[in-house]
Assembly symmetry: C2
Homo-oligomer: 476 residues x 2
C-alpha cells in the first residue's frame, strides 16, 4: 500500500520534472533506441568476441543469463528463479525498492563531483563516520574496494615513511597493481607475479587445518607478526626500513570463510603498532552488519583499526567505496601529498544510495536478522556435519558461512572434488553457491542479507540430498 | 510532447513494477527516512568535520553549493543558474533525460556483476568496440579512469615483459599508485613523490611556449622518444630492460589544453613500437567526440593505439570506464595472468547508461555540434586575442579550448595572476571555468557537449568586459 502511495506521488512529481527537462532540452527529441532482444547464443557470441577472455563467466561454456533480480532471487531469460547465496554486494537485496528509488530520484536531479558542496555528501560522511569508533572520524570517498585498498596503502606509506606491508595468506584486497601486490590470492596464483620483496605474509589463522587449533590459537598465530616485523627491520639494518602497515579482512573471505580466532587481530595490531606501522581492516566483503554482531566485523576482535576500507555492500551494487581513518593520519597526508581528487567518489547519487542502504539496514533490522538467520543456518549445517563425514568443518558468523569438504575426518585432507561437485549439484537445483579457500574445498555462503530461514531450509535439504546421492553413487 | 508520452508510458510501467516489488518484499515496509534540509553553513561544517581536507572544495572557504543541474547549467541552493564550462564528465549534458531514464529503468531490474551473461554487457561491448579501428576489438570494463590506466599499464608489462614507461610532461592519468607514478602532474607536484626510476618524461609538445613552434614541431618533439628509449635500453646493458609502454592523452588536458602538433603521436608510436613497447592513448578526458572530428581524438593524429583508456564521458557521471585493446594483447594477458574480475565493471546499469550515452551522441549529432560550436568559440576567442594583449595564445579543437594569459606577447611570460583573476571574475558572473597548465596561466574550457553558441557569446562578452576592466583598474 505504501508503495502504491509512493508510486502515485512519484507520478505527480515525475510529470513536472519531465516538462522541465523538455524545456531545458529545448528542441532536443528523445533519442532512445529500441533494441530488440538477442538470443542467448547471440549474446554469448558477442560477449566472447568483444569482452576479454580473462573476464570469466560463471558456468562457461553454458553460462547463466540473468535478466532480473529481486531480494535474494535472480531470474534467467526463461524466468527461472535462482536462489543467490553468494552476492554480498547486493547487500540489502537485489534491487531493493528504497535503494533503487534513492538512486533514481537523485540521478534525475544532480550527479556531479564532490568539489561542490553537497548536503548528501556531507550528511553521508557524518552518518557513516558516526557508525565507527569515535577516532575513526574522517572519510575519503571512492568507487571500488581496489581504489580503497590502494589509497589505504598510500596513507600508511605517507604516515610511516615506510613501504613494507604485512598481509595474510590467501587474502584478496583488489585488482589494481598496488592491491594485487598485497593479495596472496593473486600474487601467489599459479599465474601470479609472486610475492614482492616489500610484502610479508602471515600464515592463515585456520583453526581447522592450521598449526594451532586450541583456544589460544589467536595469539599463537599472531605471534608470527613479530617475526615478520623483525625481518623487515633487519632487512636494511634499520636504515629507512620499517613497517608501513598490516592488512587483514576482519573475517577471511577468499581464505576460506575463516572466522578469526579470539585475540588474533589484537596481538597483530599491538605488534605492528609497536613497530610504527598502521593497521588496516578490510571490511569490503564483511562490513555493514554481515557478521550479525554489529556494523563492523573488526569489533568482534575487540580492536579499533587505524584505517578501514569499505565497499561492495555500501552501495548495494552501485560502484562506491570509502576509506575511513583517523584525523591525524588524514592530516599528515594533507600536509605531505597533493589534493586527493576522485572524479566520481562521493557524488550525490552514490551518497543518496549509500544513505538509503544504511536506512534499510537499520529499519529492517538486518543485522539482527543476519544474527538470527545465521545462527539458524549454522545449526542446520551442523546437523549435516553430524550426518555426513565428507563435511570436515562448518563455521560462520551471521550470513557469512563456510562448509569445508574433506576426504576423511582423520586426515582432514581437503576434498576439492566433492566441494565442486556439490556446487554443481546445487546449481542444478537453482541454488547459486561458490567454492573457495586455499584448496578450493570450502563451500562459501554470503547471500544478500534478506536471506531467510526458508532459504536456509531449502539450501540444507538440497545439500543433504545431494551428499547422500553422491555417497550412493560412489558406493558408500 | 514525446516526453509527455514517455511519462505516461513510464507511469503505466511503473505501477506493476512497484506492485511486484511489494510482492517480492512481502511484509517489508518502505524505510525511506525524511531528511530535513540542512543550511549551507551546517553542510560546510559537516563536510569539513568528516571529509578529509585533501578532498578540495572549489572556492573554499566560500564554496558553491549545487543542488541540481540540467544540460550545461547548474543551480545553487537559491536556484541561481551557473554556466558549466568545465564538466566534461556530464558529457551529453547534466542529467540528460534519456541517460537518466536508462539508468533508472535498469537499476530497478538488475544490477549485478559480469560473471553472468547479460545482453546489455555484450551489446555494449560490441557497440563500443565497433566505434574503434578494427584491430581494437576487445574490451575490459571497470569503474574509473584510474583503474583503466592501472590495467593498461599491466597489459603493457605483461605483453612486453618490461616495466619502463614513457609519459608526457604535465600529464595526469589517475590517482591510484600506478597511475600516479606515470603522471607528472602528480609526481612532479611540490608535494609529489618525484619521478620513479622506471618512468621517463617527454617535454610538453607546446608550440606556443616550447622549444619547437613551426610546422615541423610534431616530429621534432617526438624525436625525444628515441633518446628516452635508448636511455632505457642502456640502463641495464640490455638485460631485461626495455620499454613497456608509452602513454599520452590525445589532446593534453592538465598540460594546458594543448592540441598535439601534426605527426607527434605517429613518430612517438613508431619509436616506441620499434623498441617493442605498446602505445596507450588516454581518451578519458578527450574521447567520445569532444574534439568534433570523430569519436576519438587519437584519430586526428593518424594513429591506431595498442590500448585505449576511456572513462569520464562514457557514463555521463556514472562511475564507469574501460580499456579497449587488441585481441593479441588481451590473449597474452589471459595466458599469463589470473582472471580479471572487477566487481562493478560492465554491470547492466553501467552498460545501459553507456548505451544511452552513445545513442544521444549519435542522434543529437553532438560530434558535429562540438565541431560547429567549437569553431565558433575559437573564432570568438581569436577576436579577444586581437583585442587584448594579455591573451598570448588561443587554441582548441571542438569543445576543448585553452586561452593562455601572458605578461606580454614579446616575452610570452606566463601570467597566472591574470588567468586566476579572470577565472574569479567569470565566477562572479556565474560562469564556471578553471585554470590549468604548467604555470596555471591557461583558462581551460571543456563544457558539456550541449554547450551552444549563445553560451559562447555570453562567455566571450563577460571575458571581454572583465579583461577591459582589469586593464582600466591596472592603469593601462
Amino acid at each position: 500500500m505504501i508503495f502504491l502511495i509512493q508510486s502515485l506521488l512519484s507520478l505527480l512529481l515525475w510529470k513536472p520534472a519531465k516538462e522541465e527537462e523538455e524545456e531545458k532540452y529545448d528542441g532536443v527529441k528523445s533519442t532512445k533506441k529500441e533494441h530488440k532482444p538477442l538470443s542467448k547464443d547471440e549474446i554469448y557470441r558477442l560477449r566472447k568476441k568483444h569482452v576479454a577472455e580473462s573476464c570469466i563467466l560463471f558456468y562457461d561454456p553454458k553460462p547463466l543469463q540473468i535478466v532480473r533480480a529481486r531480494a535474494q532471487y535472480m531470474y534467467d531469460e526463461q524466468d527461472n528463479e535462482y536462489l543467490d547465496c553468494i552476492n554480498n554486494v547486493c547487500h540489502v537485496g537485489h534491487c531493493h525498492p528504497d535503494v533503487v528509488k534513492a538512486g533514481q530520484d537523485q540521478m534525475a536531479v544532480l550527479n556531479t563531483n564532490s568539489r561542490y558542496l553537497s548536503e548528501l555528501n556531507a550528511s553521508y560522511a557524518k552518518r557513516l563516520t558516526d557508525l565507527f569508533p569515535e577516532e575513526l572520524d574522517t572519510v575519503y570517498f571512492m568507487n571500488s574496494g581496489s581504489e580503497a585498498t590502494d589509497f589505504a596503502m598510500t596513507l600508511c606509506e605517507v604516515y610511516t615513511g615506510h613501504r613494507d606491508f604485512i598481509c595474510v595468506d590467501s587474502g584478496y584486497h583488489g585488482h589494481v597493481q598496488s592491491a594485487t601486490s598485497i593479495s596472496d590470492y593473486k600474487f601467489n596464483h599459479p599465474k601470479g607475479i609472486g610475492k614482492p620483496s616489500n610484502v610479508h605474509k602471515m600464515d592463515l589463522p585456520d583453526t581447522y587445518q592450521g598449526q594451532y587449533r586450541g583456544s589460544d590459537a589467536g595469539p599463537l598465530y599472531a605471534a608470527q607478526a613479530e617475526v615478520l616485523v623483525k625481518g623487515i627491520q633487519d632487512k636494511a639494518n634499520g636504515v629507512k626500513s620499517g613497517v608501513a602497515g598490516f592488512i587483514a579482512e576482519s573475517m577471511l573471505s577468499c581464505g576460506g570463510q575463516i572466522i578469526l580466532p579470539e585475540g588474533y587481530l589484537k596481538t597483530c595490531y599491538q605488534t605492528v603498532r609497536a613497530a610504527g606501522g598502521l593497521c588496516i581492516a578490510d571490511e569490503v566483503q564483511v562490513g555493514f552488519g554481515r557478521c550479525g554482531e554489529g556494523m563492523w566485523s573488526f569489533a568482534m576482535q575487540g580492536v579499533v583499526p587505524d584505517i578501514v576500507t569499505i565497499g561492495k555492500p555500501m552501495g548495494n551494487g552501485h560502484p562506491m567505496s570509502a576509506v575511513v581513518t583517523k584525523r591525524a593520519i588524514a592530516d599528515r597526508y594533507y600536509q605531505r601529498r597533493p589534493e586527493y581528487f576522485n572524479t566520481y567518489g562521493g557524488n550525490p547519487v552514490s551518497c543518496a544510495i549509500g544513505l538509503a542502504v544504511l536506512d534499510v539496514i537499520e529499519q529492517e533490522g538486518l543485522i539482527e536478522h543476519a544474527k538470527t538467520t545465521g545462527d539458524y543456518f549454522l545449526s542446520k549445517v551442523q546437523e549435516l556435519y553430524k550426518k555426513h563425514t565428507c563435511i570436515g568443518n562448518v563455521r560462520g558468523k551471521g550470513l557469512f558461512l563456510g562448509i569445508e569438504f574433506v576426504k576423511d575426518r582423520d586426515s582432514q585432507a581437503p576434498d576439492e572434488a566433492t566441494a565442486v561437485s556439490m556446487k554443481k549439484a546445487m546449481y542444478k537445483h537453482m541454488i547459486i553457491v561458490s567454492t573457495e579457500g586455499k584448496y578450493n574445498n570450502i563451500m562459501k555462503v554470503k547471500p544478500p542479507m534478506t536471506f531467510d530461514k526458508a532459504n536456509v531450509d531449502r539450501f540444507c535439504e538440497v545439500l543433504d540430498r545431494e551428499i547422500s546421492d553422491r555417497y550412493l553413487a560412489n558406493g558408500y
